[in-house]
């Protein structure tokens, strides 16, 4: 049970449409796991199942050792979550946002005080700790949102396109925060559309039409598929799915390489 996430044949159907089709993968403790896929490939649905927002239609999954069917409450206490929209209240100051989420996760008042001070000083935000968040530059907001998601010290944090709309320098700095968190033992599951970021991950999966088409360390995957970059690999895997009908339950026939098991 040193797996942060274990998904086995996890499936979610919406009517006749199968958004997530029997995916199996795991995320290790302290690992940075990239969760890639074109829009509509099923990433968000998978994340919603793993964060307890959506009940799976089939298969099984454990998050932080808790069952997604029966222990949603425990899962919610063990995970952090940050979306591309940062989830901060813009009319509240960083301090107020931290206090709010501290309260929501049932931290004690001394804990909140201590962690607020530590967080603001680590991020260098002491001077703007009482300004409304909307006045902060996007990069600062993003770092703050990430730290707030880690406030209650979750064992896994889900980052849903955390860097969209952010400049390359700030993105690089943000990844340093991700590595720091991973070094402290926090598992990170991150979705992204930036393929350079995919290369930073310990391991990654590429979803195509609800299935995991590739899974492994970036170097391994590139070698297996004979591509020079994850970008090439992604385009090659995703293209057949994009050019055909959007609702297609079987993987493409002309799919080269070793995309995981056609149905």
């Amino acid at each position: 049970m040193n797996r942060a996430i274990e998904a086995n044949e996890l499936t979610r159907r919406f009517g006749a449409f199968t958004a997530v089709d029997r995916i199996s993968f795991d995320v290790r403790q302290g690992e940075v796991f990239g969760f890639l896929g074109a829009n509509g490939a099923g990433k968000t649905t998978a994340i919603r199942m793993l964060t307890g927002l959506l009940t799976p239609s089939g298969g099984s999954a454990r998050v932080a050792g808790h069952d997604v069917y029966t222990e949603g409450e425990k899962i919610k206490r063990s995970i952090g979550y940050m979306s591309q929209r940062f989830s901060l209240y813009e009319d509240l100051s960083p301090r107020e946002n931290i206090r709010l989420y501290g309260g929501i996760y049932d931290l004690t008042a001394p804990e909140i005080r201590e962690r607020t001070a530590a967080m603001l000083s680590r991020l260098g935000l002491e001077s703007v700790g009482s300004r409304p968040v909307r006045e902060l530059p996007v990069g600062w907001r993003q770092k703050l949102a990430f730290s707030v998601a880690l406030l209650h010290r979750p064992s896994i944090v889900f980052l849903d396109e955390p860097t969209s709309g952010v400049d390359p320098v700030t993105r690089r700095q943000f990844w340093e925060l991700i590595y720091e968190a991973a070094a402290r033992g926090t598992s990170v599951l991150v979705t992204t559309h930036y393929m350079d970021e995919a290369e930073y991950c310990d391991r990654l999966s590429i979803m195509v039409a609800g299935r995991i088409a590739a899974l492994g360390a970036p170097a391994e995957l590139k070698q297996q598929h004979g591509t020079s970059s994850i970008d090439d690999l992604f385009v090659r895997l995703a293209r057949p799915a994009v050019s055909e009908q959007p609702i297609r339950l079987a993987p493409p026939a002309q799919d080269k390489g070793e995309s995981k098991g056609p149905a």
């Binding site: 919610k76 929209r85 989830s87 009319d91 206090r99 709010l100 309260g103 929501i104 049932d106 889900f158």
Partner: protein, 370 residues
């Protein structure tokens, strides 16, 4: 407890820092009472009266004096021919006219019927009939006095007097204020809840709440309680202001009235939540809240239009509009001074609607998660 306190504090910040909302919340009750209390009046006062008196004699002068002796009428013209009234009515210089006959004094002395015609501007039919009744009352009073002067005991007289109970001077503000409370509370509760929940969807913050260990009911409670508190304050403000400015009485229990207001606010809040589960932008949320909560609560509550005179279909619909029940209850408590012993049925219905709507909206909110 602590997570809920954190949510409540956050919601208070939102309300305090959103200037426009704050202005609406603070000014709405005050301004609405002034507007409805003074501008929109249906009671009749200082009626512009024109009298057609082709042949003035002591009897017509006396009757004319009776009209001018009260504050109810203001004599704008005395003209010789009935046709002279027409331009006065068309230009709204006169609202009512009384046409006296030639030889009015002789008719009265000779005890033959004296033909007097009453003409009123019935552009607004309600005002029109009130005017007619007022004028008839003046003429009847004069007639009775004449009969008495002649000490004529041979005719049988029925001295019917009427009393307008609970609102003897027929002040329209008395009737408006309970409806006005429904109106203001609906806006505060439905609209604000719908907008603020939808805003959290727009900014994506709702996701962070949903993946947190917060239960759906505590997210809803965190939203509902601040607006409930604001609603109660607004209700009290309206009652106090109505009393100070327009002398509207509160004859029954203030505590009971507040309790009923809480039930009504809860029903409105629930409608606001329901709207927010179906909308993704604040603009649509505003329209939705207006459509399913504000308009029915204003139009079908008896606030402006009497329910009794509506077509059957609307009367049936009005039975499930919480505002209808609240207005009935509030009028009973404020004007008639009755308590729960007479209003328990209405209270049960209002409470039932509130509970049902809260259950449905919490369910809809949860359903959105799965």
């Amino acid at each position: 407890m602590s997570p809920l306190v954190a949510l409540l504090r956050k919601e208070t910040y939102h309300i305090r820092r959103d200037r426009r909302t704050l202005v609406v919340v603070l000014a709405l009750p005050v301004v609405q009472v002034l507007l409805f209390g003074s501008a929109i009046r249906t009671d009749v006062d200082r009626v512009r009266l024109a009298i057609v008196d082709p042949a003035p004699d002591e009897a017509t002068l006396e009757l004319r004096n009776r009209f001018t002796a009260t504050d109810t009428f203001r004599l704008v013209a005395v003209v010789p021919r009935a046709s002279d009234l027409d331009p006065l009515f068309r230009t709204s210089q006169a609202q009512a006219g009384v046409v006296l006959p030639v030889g009015f004094a002789e008719d009265l002395a000779g005890r033959s019927p004296a033909p007097v015609q009453i003409i009123v501007d019935a552009t607004d039919p309600n005002t029109g009939s009130v005017l007619r009744a007022y004028i008839e009352a003046v003429i009847r009073g004069y007639e009775l006095e004449q009969v008495r002067l002649k000490a004529d005991t041979t005719t049988i007289q029925i001295g019917a007097t009427s009393r307008m109970r609970f609102n003897p001077t027929r002040e329209s503000s008395n009737v408006f204020v309970p409806g006005l409370m429904a109106f203001v509370l609906t806006i505060l509760a439905s609209l604000m809840t719908a907008i603020s929940l939808t805003r959290e969807k727009e900014t994506g913050t709702i996701e962070a709440l949903l993946v947190s260990p917060l239960r759906p009911w505590s997210i809803i409670l965190g939203k509902v309680l601040p607006y409930l508190a604001i609603g109660v304050v607004a209700a009290v403000a309206i009652i106090v202001e109505a009393r100070l400015v327009f002398g509207v009485p509160l004859r029954g229990s203030a505590v009971l009235l507040i309790f009923e207001a809480v039930l009504f606010i809860l029903a409105s809040l629930a409608l606001g939540i329901l709207v927010s589960t179906r909308t993704y932008s604040q603009r649509v949320a505003t329209m939705g809240a207006m459509l399913i909560s504000m308009l029915p609560n204003i139009l079908l509550s008896g606030f402006i239009f009497p329910i009794e005179s509506m077509p059957l279909l609307l009367r049936v619909i009005s039975q499930v509009v919480p505002g209808q029940w609240f207005v009935t209850i509030a009028r009973g408590i404020m004007l008639k001074g009755v308590g729960l012993e007479y209003l328990w049925k209405e209270t049960l219905v209002l409470g039932g609607i509130a509970v049902l709507l809260l259950a449905v909206s919490t369910r809809a909110f949860k359903a959105r998660l799965g």
